[in-house]
Symmetry: C2
């Protein structure tokens, strides 16, 4: 691990690599996942998923299913307490009503005493459909004669949208007849026509990016237990956002939100998907039956019925002068939203138009409804697609102008306070520093390449979301520091929080216990997405630890008969400064605080944080590839990932985030595609068909962390989760261009695509 440190504070635990706290329990199989949850009287739910992409439901024959021993109930939408609810999104498409809109939509819920009986029951249900026309591509959906999926207009949802990055919402203007066109977003600045007129070179490309499945190890699942007295529910689930799931389920069932208690279990990967897709189904069934219900999706179900990333087309036109100054950017982005809309268009447009200083820009984003499952977030949603388009085109433009690709970018890259596509100034931003660091690397300087090999790079940035959060901290009588948070840990955030409390209180991290409280006892924290949770929570945990530190020092001063300012915390004890013989263990002080009437009370503190400004992460990724011209196969040989992490609270975990992001970037760039046929049938419905990168596909990864502190972030930290996935595909595309001289505009760049590009060039 390489790590460049700038202005790193003098610390004992922060900023030092340290193992993840729950690593051992995961490795030995003792972590408790939702599939492990058992409650008394638990029933098992198996959904019957639609086998067709668009159809009227003519009839549901439950009779054979109900004969199967152990089957307790076979439910359709009419049988549920939500029967009168309008379906407006994937998560409240609890069971289809009259009509199915995509393959994989839940139609019937079979509930049984055992998993086997539920599965047999689901197989025995007979659903009769009357098939309707199907659109499974943007082209089909936008054709003039296309059938319209929502002939009366897309029904408006009332659910909270969970934010992945901060975007200033613009007023939406809609008019004209109802089609499958859902929404247009625009970003405009200056006069692009004049800009292109000024340009000495213009490049136009048309990129097609596939749909990607988040590929977590653990499928979606939950256990829902109703409380007949309080009228509420307890939900155990695998989620990135327990408060989000709570609010969504409560709103759907018209319950008071506090009557729903969500306990986020250990999460086996989320990557943007786990925000409550199936909890409404299980919760509604449990609530309807007033019995506890467990639903763990099978992989095939999970691939079909959850929310992959939207297929995206980007037409981009970029002009620059000979002196290297970019004059104009024009882009048309089209997103395949699936059967409902999740509003990623605006974010994609914003990201596309913000990394460089464009004097003139015109970006239009259009989103279309198709007969697929609703599209959702995949780690840095919109960023890897837009980066693929921009960085490929920048590269082409540099070549066309005969400019050095590093220097060309350095001249035009956005810096702090430069305007984003929407005109808002970038907060502290260091894309250039990342690129500078990358360009110093021997792989760039020496360009060691054999025949068929190429080196390429790309830069990107991610604005990061931000939300307030809170925490409590107490000192236990055995000396343990207990930190309670309401966040869910999908990437080691809890391990970082441990270091923060340890640093503030001067105790070993092994003496800090991070407790993930459910939505009842956990102080509020935002969902673990948008690269925000460490950024948001760190300040709250630090403040809570500081709060309890003040109380600890006061009590210690009283016990030591010293002034508070003369007391210090060292190695889990309080002592008169420089007098180790006076030391009292903090556990002993906690015991005094919990038992003595002379103390002011137990040692507990509370902290909250609300950061005012985003802390964007930036990356420069460089990759060396070997292209087999005969087959189109691309092998990644080497990978250098430079990232401005602001301040790595735990560099080992940041390194892990970078490695994971790089591997996913390789997957997106070369392998992963969620393919539907013209009937809306998912062709990539198993891991035999949906190709994730294997270990042999992953090269050596060199992760270089720049610690360029965010002025607002706790200890200077920035969001680190999403940036490392943004630039990989683009860098690979540029390396292929370097290796074989062709621009591949389709992602993933699978062998047939690359082969075809090479052969079209040869023609």
């Amino acid at each position: 691990m390489a790590s460049a440190s700038i202005d790193k504070p003098d610390t004992k635990y922060l900023g030092k690599p340290r193992k993840i706290i729950d690593g051992l329990e995961k490795v030995v199989g003792r972590a408790r996942y939702v599939a492990d949850v058992v409650v008394p009287g638990l029933l098992h739910l198996r959904p019957v998923l639609s086998t067709v992409a668009h159809a009227k439901i003519i009839s549901v024959d439950k009779s054979e299913a109900l004969k199967i021993p152990g089957v307790v109930a076979v439910l359709t939408a009419q049988d549920l307490v939500t029967r009168d609810r309008t379906i407006t999104s994937r998560s409240d498409a609890i069971l289809a009503k009259d009509r199915v809109l995509f393959v994989g939509q839940p139609v019937v819920a079979v509930v049984a005493e055992t998993e086997a009986a539920a599965e047999d029951g689901a197989e025995a249900v007979i659903v009769e459909y009357e098939e309707l026309p199907v659109n499974t591509s943007i082209e089909a959906a936008s054709a003039p004669d296309a059938h319209v999926t929502w002939p009366e207009g897309l029904p408006k949802g009332d659910l909270e949208v969970i934010s992945h990055a901060e975007v200033e919402e613009k007023e939406e203007v809609e008019s004209g007849p109802i089609t499958n066109h859902y929404k247009t977003s625009n970003f405009k600045r200056g006069d692009v026509e004049a800009g292109f007129a000024e340009a000495d070179a213009v490049v136009e490309n048309h990129f097609r990016v596939g749909s990607q499945y988040q590929g977590y190890m653990e499928t979606h699942g939950c256990v829902v237990e109703p409380d007949a007295v309080k009228g509420g529910l307890t939900i155990y689930t695998t989620t990135q956002a327990q408060f989000g799931v709570r609010n969504k389920v409560a709103d759907i069932l018209k319950l008071k939100r506090s009557n729903v208690k969500v306990t986020a279990m250990t999460v086996g990967g989320g990557f943007g998907s786990k925000y409550g897709t199936i909890e409404p189904l299980a919760a509604t069934v449990a609530y309807t039956l007033n019995r506890p219900v467990k639903l763990i999706l099978q992989r095939g179900e999970d691939l079909k019925t959850t929310t992959p990333a939207p297929a995206t087309q980007i037409k981009i036109k970029l002009g620059a002068k000979k002196d290297g100054s970019i004059t104009a950017l024009q882009a048309d982005i089209i997103l395949d939203a699936g059967a409902f809309a999740f509003d990623f268009g605006q974010l994609t447009g914003l990201l596309l138009g913000s990394n460089y200083k464009y004097p003139n820009l015109d970006i239009e984003v259009n989103e279309y409804i198709t007969n697929k499952t609703e599209m959702g977030a995949y780690r840095a949603p919109g960023a890897y697609q837009s980066t693929f388009a921009v960085e490929s085109t920048i590269d082409d433009l540099a070549r066309k102008l005969g400019l050095d690709p590093v220097a060309f970018r350095m001249q035009n890259l956005s810096e702090t306070d430069d305007p984003m596509a929407n005109g808002a100034p970038w907060p502290s931003l260091n894309i250039k520093a990342c690129l500078e660091r990358m360009a110093e690397h021997p792989l760039w300087l020496d360009q060691p390449k054999a025949e068929g090999e190429g080196i390429g790079f790309a830069v990107s940035a991610w604005p990061c979301a931000l939300s307030p959060s809170a925490s409590t901290c107490r000192i236990d009588g055995d000396g343990t520091v207990k930190v309670v948070v309401g966040s869910t840990d999908i990437s080691g955030v809890s391990s970082s929080m441990v270091l923060i409390a340890a640093e503030v209180l001067g105790v070993s991290p092994s003496e800090v216990e991070l407790i993930q409280g459910n939505t009842d006892v956990g102080p509020f924290a935002p969902g673990s997405g948008g690269s925000q949770v460490t950024y948001s929570l760190s300040g709250a945990v630090a403040a809570a630890a500081e709060d309890v530190k003040v109380k600890l020092l006061e009590l210690a001063a009283d016990q030591l008969e010293a002034r508070v300012e003369d007391v210090e915390l060292i190695n889990g004890a309080a002592q008169v400064k420089g007098v180790p013989s006076s030391a009292i263990k903090i556990g002993k002080l906690a015991q005094i605080a919990e038992s003595s009437r002379s103390s002011p009370g137990p040692l507990i503190g509370e902290g909250r944080s609300s950061i005012k400004q985003n802390a964007p992460g930036a990356v420069a990724h460089m990759v060396k590839v070997k292209v087999d011209k005969d087959t189109g196969h691309v092998q990644v040989l080497d990978y250098v990932a430079v990232q401005d992490v602001g301040y790595a609270i735990n560099p080992m975990l940041v390194e892990g985030q970078i490695h994971g992001g790089v591997v996913q970037g390789i997957g997106l760039g070369l392998f992963e595609n969620h393919v539907y046929d013209d009937y809306g049938q998912l062709q990539s419905g198993s891991f035999m068909d949906y190709a994730l990168p294997r270990s042999v596909d992953v090269p050596n990864i060199e992760a270089i962390q720049l610690n360029l502190p965010s002025p607002q972030g706790p200890f200077g930290a920035r969001g680190v989760g999403e940036p490392p996935i943004t630039a990989g595909a683009a860098a690979i595309g540029n390396a292929i261009r370097d290796a074989v001289g062709v621009r591949v505009t389709e992602m993933p760049m699978r062998p047939p695509v690359v082969w075809k590009a090479i052969h079209e060039q040869d023609k």
Copy 2:
């Protein structure tokens, strides 16, 4: 319900009767008790209890038990991880080692996949004993030729003693040969010989008080789940003190206390018994096997193996002058401690010598070891026994001097700052006010009595324990106020905390949710015993609510563009004072706080309290009885209970506490006795034999609450849980004296005892 209010603050919710928050779920059977807990792979534990009171264990034959299908393990002390631990108390007498000391001591643990298999297994275990001499009475244990149960001296324990009331510990002086005599405590003041010489009348009595079983509806039980990775345990249990159980189990298993997590389930009654008697057994077995284990005691086991109240003998001598002034008190108290010692002697002596102003006193308390289970706390331990002795004797002395029993007491009763037996001044104390109120009652003034009927009364006081505690409070986005505490609710304390938070924050109590956090997430709170938990916790909850209120008002002021001092909280909303149209719901403010970067962060507060001084409760109980001279049967006809509750946070629940205490006082006075034969066999080993009062035994109860605020207690509150049990038996004794002219000195005053007293008088 009658309620006398003095200086009651102007409140909206506090001090108003309100239903208990968990009443409905208990009534309809939805409350979750430990018997309802299921965890994956749960095994069932059945203990084999000793059938003899003192014996060597010659052999244990496990072979037949191990043959029973489903039996997983048959364990003796040698098989446990605690095999090297010295047994020093009931709770660490996990399984007997070599020797059994009482009938009901666990000897073998049978663990099986089902409860039935565990029970069959336990029945199939053959334990061979070599019986040893047995002492089951104070007389036997203190005889010169008595066998000595601990010939090398009682081994010293290292477990924390859980305090039930604040007693200043005195230095203990021990010498002489080792006998069954365990401990002597003394309280002395002035010169009792001179005091008796001054007296115009002296009365001597010798009282014998039986042993009482706490008689809760739910037996002891727990589920223990080991965590093989963290090396710790999770314990679900029915307990009054989850932190106490945690610490005890951790210490026994040599675990870090934070590695044991205790979740206190709904408690079906505790009354001083549920402080961790059986959790060490279940935890040690679970930890040894590394498998989850459930142990729910059957009633017969519970009666034998838990910790009832000690049989107590009190010889008392009291002298007074004709003018009504008491001159001297002398008392010898002997306690039957059982096989281990729990140190109730000093408390009993303190209570006996503190309610009146004794110019001269000499109290000696001796505790003896016998072959019974360890004796423990029963609601107001030591108080009902000492009150029975003192109030009976005061009554006799008033008669002997021809003085009015009310006036005689009023002349001598202790008041605020008068010395207790140990010389420490009483904090704010109002026994006299209770007695004054009682003496105004028509039952006393009119004395409506028929043949065989009598009216008697007694007064008492209870110092109450006190410990620091803490709480957190947050406002949820749906407007719910969530209060998190670490206390366990055995008597409605949670319902009172709801009112406190509601009052501070100006919301309806129905909008407050009280969350009982386990030992990981619950802020520290003392055990629910010693009448301290409401007293201790109220301040912490009020402080936490005040803390969040400050933050709420700041945010509201910002949103309302007003000054903080111009904003008020009314009906769940913040508004500019007097401008209802400006109101913003607090849930809306919480949503802003959780989502807006312009807010300072989520609305969460923390509070702690450490009260410096006890808040004694005082009572005057008056009872009317009818005595059947032919049978000795005593029927209670009417009951008036006056109690200084300081400030009734929820008068309905205080009323419930008084009713419950009165009924238990009747039980103690007339029915309940844990009887052992000379072989140490429990004769009262079922509810057929151990007589609890039935509804027909309970008269109309008039509970009169005096609200004489404690200067230190939150809102003036005092401990209310234990006082109502203290005076009932004594009042009944005095009423019997009034009815039939005899002093009954044995408690319970069962028909044979009363009959015998009447007939001895007749002789």
